[in-house]
Symmetry: C2
Subunit: 263 residues, 2 copies
Amino acid sequence: MSDNELDAAVAFALRLADEAGAVARRYFRTAVSVETKSNDTPVTIADREAEAVMRTLIEAEYPNHGILGEEQAPTRLGAEHIWVLDPIDGTKGFLSGVPLFGTLIALVREGIPILGIIDQPILGERWLGVAGRPTTLNGTNARTRACTDLAHASLSTTGVEYLSGPGDLDAFDRVRGAAARFRNIPDCYGYAMLASGFTDLVIEAGLNAWDYCALAPVIEGAGGTITDWRGAPLRLDSDGHVAAAGDARCHAAALEVLAAPGS
Amino acid sequence: MSDNELDAAVAFALRLADEAGAVARRYFRTAVSVETKSNDTPVTIADREAEAVMRTLIEAEYPNHGILGEEQAPTRLGAEHIWVLDPIDGTKGFLSGVPLFGTLIALVREGIPILGIIDQPILGERWLGVAGRPTTLNGTNARTRACTDLAHASLSTTGVEYLSGPGDLDAFDRVRGAAARFRNIPDCYGYAMLASGFTDLVIEAGLNAWDYCALAPVIEGAGGTITDWRGAPLRLDSDGHVAAAGDARCHAAALEVLAAPGS
């Protein structure tokens, strides 16, 4: 993708966020009916309609690109470029009237996220990350803050109850014990706060590609580091364990504690 | 307190919220230094200054009233009327840049909360509850929603890690198992969402008087029920276990499950 093509993709992604956000705003704090999906998570007409709006735009603009979204079956997953969409990341929060859910939009090339948007349609906050470029919040550069070690780190996760894989909670609890402070911050909003330098560390597990692909360009372009728990860069086929830090030193310390029960 | 005196107290309480909110907004998302209090919770200059501003106004307007605030020693606790203040309920969220913390202001008469404000200074949302009057959100009536039983209830708490008293987590987990959905919603914001009819049930433990006194008039004036876990109305000297529901039927069902391991 040339610089011009990437610029066009960014402009297009911003339009996707505009359209999905308009749907979310229309249904927020209204009495939407809720269905429970096979994985026991809720879905509403707002999730479905916001994804459908984005899919229609992508099919028209980039008919050869793939689409992987939370609410519909994937399309053209063999394509070089794949759009990865979570229309409402944080449906439970959305349903509870809490304005921290986000629309996540990523463009992935050969498995690697090269463009990411975290959009908060109610608060009017939009983080944009593009590979090799500085991350912005509403057009102004966003930067992570320095944090040399875990003892000074402010840590967040969506909720410890989501760390349900074998050993996940134990590993997380070791990091929590070493961190200065811990706070639940739901879904993408924790990563957004990290990108803007208000927290230092986010550790999660059990995420899907549509939960994390958009985060990588945002965090990296803000000066942070985001990988799986073993330190590998996030890809479309990562295992859903995510460790993000604003400072590489804090990230390295967290990975060490995640890996080593004895530390 | 006559109706006229109560009207004056309401107007005064709104002024307290204005002044405390101005302090919170000035420090939000800035690099404030953090101290850790003896109970291992953080405090910042924003908490301290917001409480001091409110105390100065109360001393000038109601010199015979008592004051119980999170950040300073109590004053005149033997008085008939006591102002109960939490300048920033959710300091950890405040420090993480998350705009869901609240300023809580209550007026308690002979131990019973008769006036409560939940103010969110960043989102510009203010719930006002006054004994015997309808609760308002920014001047418009707020109402809880109907929820006949636990199986249809959307439940929240600040974080399960706060349910640390003996048996608290087990009791909570029984309710969580019976509820339709569960979501972490931090601090006062869960009760605000309940008052506005977006969730059905909030269950917490380990709260202090400044965490819960302001909630009672807001929830009750919105049509909800809020008590301790045994069903007693909240008073200045309650034990910090709080169960709030938008619908009395849901509240009764929750108390039953909290009390009875076998149910």
